[in-house]
Symmetry: C2
Subunit: 401 residues, 2 copies
């Protein structure tokens, strides 16, 4: 009898951001005259940069002609893009990787899910708390319910605490979603050493690395000696180049990274992931990969960095203004996220409702990212300058009293 | 200790089509003067049609402007596309579906994998033999090793035989890959009845439905009364509109389709799949969905059907010419696939080597699709007219003696 994978029943009914969208939609329905400003979901507002648009049109033209049409791509991704990634993202930072260690795909969500399923169900996972909810949900779907939460608190600067028990997989996110904090070189060195000593693997999510402003903060975990043996790195063009609606990502799986079999042998994660992609994914679209390639041209780098500068100015502005209102604020530097502490121990969802109902501003309740996020609230810097200013004005009006 | 999901070790080392590509590449390396013609992998050769190109460029322009830029899409897919699918693919055939029963995504591989993981690991799967290898690989990765193979043979016209034991999930593919055969209305009625009586679910893969030439052969399993309770349907724009390099698909999961929990309750597959997509997939790209929408305009329908006609003529030609050479040939009607029986009981891989080495033509060994495919060979109609003709000339030269 066709029956359900019961692991799916352990998920909470709704994905956090779906709940927020529903609340926003309901408010808008009941208040058709009020313009709601969303500083909630981390979606970008600036359009694609000209270099990317040109590349997409050129690639579209190629798809229109028999001589230049491209059908099924290659599982790993096109070399023209992988070579650019190796050069700009890694070689320039002193990291040497091979072409077959990078996989192009359609978004980090899919990559995070795809890599996680190649690990044993019995592996114990350590997640930060607060945490990007997809990390947790993916593992619950895989039947990994024994999750260890590494608390990030004001006291430890929202850096994940060291696990008290043995863990096999450690998720790290820097710059962090939701807290906006970053891991320093020394902290990453600690985690790489920890992973080696514990035969653990680090899932390093650095999709926000382009926001880093301090040259001493690593953009890639492979800037740390020995990380190739213990870390997978997830990257995306979503925030780097505003590809949230285009969909392009890559994941780095060094050949040195091996997983144990029950009989004590070692197998390459890289080749298993490639096998997995060939069956479950296929290949990223040609036009998308040309668009991503364009990001790495000199002009492309200039253009995307102007957009990032725009968002960074928003982040700085939000942080400053909230501090003027007496809020304790984390993030907002090296990150598009502002993590604020509510006042008078107000609960995260109460703060959400207050902001939505009184200011028409949507943010994300900290507790939605885990219990350690209770009493906190996340705002993002991805809106337009005008909307960000207007949102802050409205917030000022309800909190200045 | 980070360890491997041992189910992945039960996979054969290489995906069938990767082996073929490697063999082809090696031959080309050793015979740089010979032009190899591939009638192997089912990739299209005609470029995207003008209506699709125009839609993509228009959508790209929208992505270049702040006012019309689109970031993250909606999990289910944009309504503008879903509405067209409901109208053209279903309503016109008398099938009523709701908007929230269709999910847009980036290729049927991902959809087949995504739906399969929501079923219990203990569910017994029935696959045809011969079979599209991704069906098998997906289930092996999920730990379902107890697979029942439903043999398709010359004797039964390559229609899957009825399972001798109870099965929970039945994969049907019509028009069939690799055999090119189709299931009639009566045969589908049998399977729907069978699924109901056995509390089983049918995964109906009809990605080649556009090749059907006979109005009596169903394009959708929902043309069969009661199928909504027991069938998921997989569709793709890859063959329909040459989107192999663009990536767009959809899957239909009717609300009526319920899975049992251990405690005997029933849960909607539809809502679990939506939850799954929100965590593991995200949403299909905006430009891609506009491209797919254009396929359903009057002009789009005209243009894609011209391309399909072109491939159908190839199929007919290959079939005719092979029959003239004394081959027994299946498929080639209602299908882009030609399934030929080798002569003198030659093994599939021997036939592959002969064709590659003596004619410089690449096809797919029948045995690569399962043991029932031994002694058979698949050719595809997706090459250009010129290449198809040339390939047949070369085949004629080695077999006319």
């Amino acid at each position: 009898m066709a029956s359900v994978n019961e692991d799916f029943l352990n998920l909470e009914n709704d994905y956090l951001f779906s709940i927020i969208t529903n609340k926003k939609n309901e408010f808008e329905k009941n208040n058709p005259d009020k313009k709601v400003i969303s500083l909630g979901i981390g979606d970008v507002s600036l359009p694609l940069v000209p270099v990317v648009i040109d590349a997409m049109k050129k690639a579209t033209d190629e798809m229109a002609k028999k001589e230049t049409f491209r059908g099924y791509g290659v599982v790993q991704g096109y070399e023209f893009l992988i070579e650019k990634i190796l050069e700009v993202e890694y070689k320039k930072r002193g990291v040497e990787l091979n072409k077959d260690e990078v996989f192009i795909a359609s978004g980090s969500k899919g990559d995070l899910a795809g890599v996680a399923e190649i690990f044993s169900k019995s592996n114990r996972v350590a997640l930060m708390d607060p945490v990007y909810p997809a990390y947790r949900d993916v593992n619950i779907m895989l039947g990994r319910n024994d999750i260890v939460y590494l608390k990030g608190t004001e006291e430890n600067g929202f850096i994940p605490e060291i696990p008290k028990e043995h863990v096999d997989i450690i998720y790290l996110c820097s710059p962090n979603n939701p807290t906006g904090t970053v891991l320093t070189k020394e902290q990453l060195e600690f985690w790489v050493k920890y992973a080696k000593e514990n035969n653990a693997v680090i899932f390093f999510d650095s999709v926000y690395e382009v926001f880093i402003d301090d040259e001493n903060i690593p953009h890639s975990i492979y800037e740390i000696e020995g990380a190739k043996e213990v870390a997978v790195e997830f990257r995306s063009f979503s925030k780097l180049a505003g590809f949230t609606g285009v969909r392009c990502s890559f994941v780095v799986i060094p050949k040195e990274l091996k997983l144990y079999t029950k009989s004590g042998e070692k197998v390459e994660l890289n080749s298993l992931f490639k096998r997995r992609q060939s069956v479950k994914y296929g290949a990223a679209p040609y036009i998308t990969q040309r668009a991503a390639e364009a990001v790495y041209s000199d002009e492309g780098q200039k253009e995307i960095r102007e957009n990032i500068k725009y968002y960074k100015e928003n982040a700085k502005f939000i942080k400053q203004e909230l501090e003027k209102l007496g809020f304790i604020v984390y993030g907002g530097e090296h990150s598009p996220y502002i993590w604020l502490k509510t006042k008078n121990n107000m609960k995260s969802w109460d703060f959400f409702d207050k902001l939505l109902n009184e200011a028409g501003v949507v943010g994300t309740p900290g507790v939605g990212f885990g219990s350690a996020g209770e009493g906190f609230f996340r705002l993002t810097a991805f809106s337009s300058k005008e909307d960000t200013k207007e949102a802050i004005n409205r917030i000022r009006n309800i909190f200045k009293k």
